[in-house]
Amino acid sequence: MIVGGDPGSASGGGGGGFPDPPTGSPGEIDSIVRSLSSAADDFESVESGLRSASATLAEDWQGYAANAYHACSEGLASVARGGAESFRDCAQAVSGYSRALDHAQSEIGRLRVLYDAAMTAEASAASAASTLGNKLASATKPAEMTKLNNKISSAQTDAANAAYSASGYARQATAVLEDFTQAQSRYTQTLTGTTLPNGRPGPASPFGPFAEPPGAAGPGFGLPVSGGAAMPGVLPGVYGGVIPTGNPWSQNQIPGYGAYYDSGHQNLTSPGDVTNLIVAVATLGTGGAIEDLGGALGRKLASLAAEMGLGAGGREAVQEAGADEYAQILKELEERGRVPTSSSSQRVAWAGRKQAIQEATAAQAEVRGKVADAALNVITKGGVALPPGLHEILVEVAAHGGVYLGWAVAKLVAMRNALAGAGGPLANAGIHMIDGILKAISR
């Protein structure tokens, strides 16, 4: 009789009370460890490369723009440092798990051989006792009966001893499996960001501007974490090297900062801000929470491309239509008392710089178009499938953003209203995204 009992194996029982070994391949997991270590090396290379580039520029580039760059580079290097540390922590955990798995599998395998041998011995002894019992039933001579009784007793003892041994092997295997399960839990906590092998409170805690708080549900590998989830898309806005300029009306006299809306309003914007709109729309089209909208979004973009008359001289028509729609928005906002009247005098002030603005705007348009085209080509080569029409739209909007600004805002507002009417989590995600776009272009 085997008394190993239920081993409580996560892998399920087998062999009549003997636990199954844990599944998985230590060899393949060791390969993963090497990959994680390599990824940590890569992030450290990013950090060192950024610091090296900053060092080369320290003497040759100075001023406000240079300071903005150095702040971005330093922050990004810290992010890479934090990410590298997360990779190292996870590599250490996976490596420890691989060793624990290898030990559990080999030890349980060894005990299984002994267990099977003991079970065979028990069965053999029990069979022998049964055979002897049959002979005893037909025996007539007292001496023969005594001899058979002794043999039966011996066989039964052998069977009991074998069963006891088998039970012991099963219990040992169960203990090995329990130790492994506990180890697995510890290593899993590292991968999920609860604890670290060396006792630190959470992955990347000592490093990086976005170090996770203790107990955060998952390492962010340098990304900010909110509510247990990493937040992609934040880094480019913070560390992408965009130079903050503040309020263009009151503090800067730079061409290209002419604003159609007063900066005091939430949805106010300027032609230059269309760059932000491009980034936001690109994000909208390539992933994130609204990925499921991809099909509909793709059709919408294709429709917008056609509406914009790309390549067919439709820009003037769009400009006219956009101006009408934009005027309607302004009118509605004014009726709600949300458009300060001081914007008029500011527009007049800017009009005096018209020639310089036109020249700078033309240069900007050319650069925007080229940069957008190049960036989108890189994205496409990187394997990101852009929705139909998005590339053409972004290049067009990048080069001639001012023309489409009113039209674009009107479209966004219309889309937001439609989504608000539809309701549901996807619609809410879309509304959230559009609000983000409007907010981004309102600075």
């Binding site: 998985g24 934040v234 090297g241 006299q253």
Partner: protein, 97 residues
């Protein structure tokens, strides 16, 4: 006109983006099969997803930083209010944030 130091720095920065991309490749999906049916495989898969997000974000940010330094090398600055000409900026007296 190109400012060589800035252009060189832009290239150096762009080179580091390849490392970020390589890190993302190292944690590609599907490796959790090595963990069999053990629960840690689920945690590992989620970890890989987060690591890939971070790698992609880091690569994108590094490339943007490189692009913006590269633009500065040819006379344009990317600001939160759009791209501006350094020549025009200097003409109007520089940043006044």
């Amino acid at each position: 006109m190109i400012t060589p130091t800035l252009a060189a720095a832009a290239m150096l920065i762009d080179g580091t983006a390849d490392h970020a991309s390589s890190a993302g490749t190292a944690v590609s999906v599907g490796q959790e099969a090595a963990f069999g049916s053990e629960p840690i495989g689920v945690a590992f898969g989620a970890m890989c997803a987060r690591a890939q997000l971070a790698s992609t974000d880091l690569e994108q940010t590094v490339r943007e930083l490189s692009s913006n330094v590269g633009m500065a090398s040819i006379g344009y600055l990317q600001t939160d209010n759009g791209i501006i000409s350094i020549a025009a900026l200097q003409y109007f007296g520089g940043f006044k944030p």
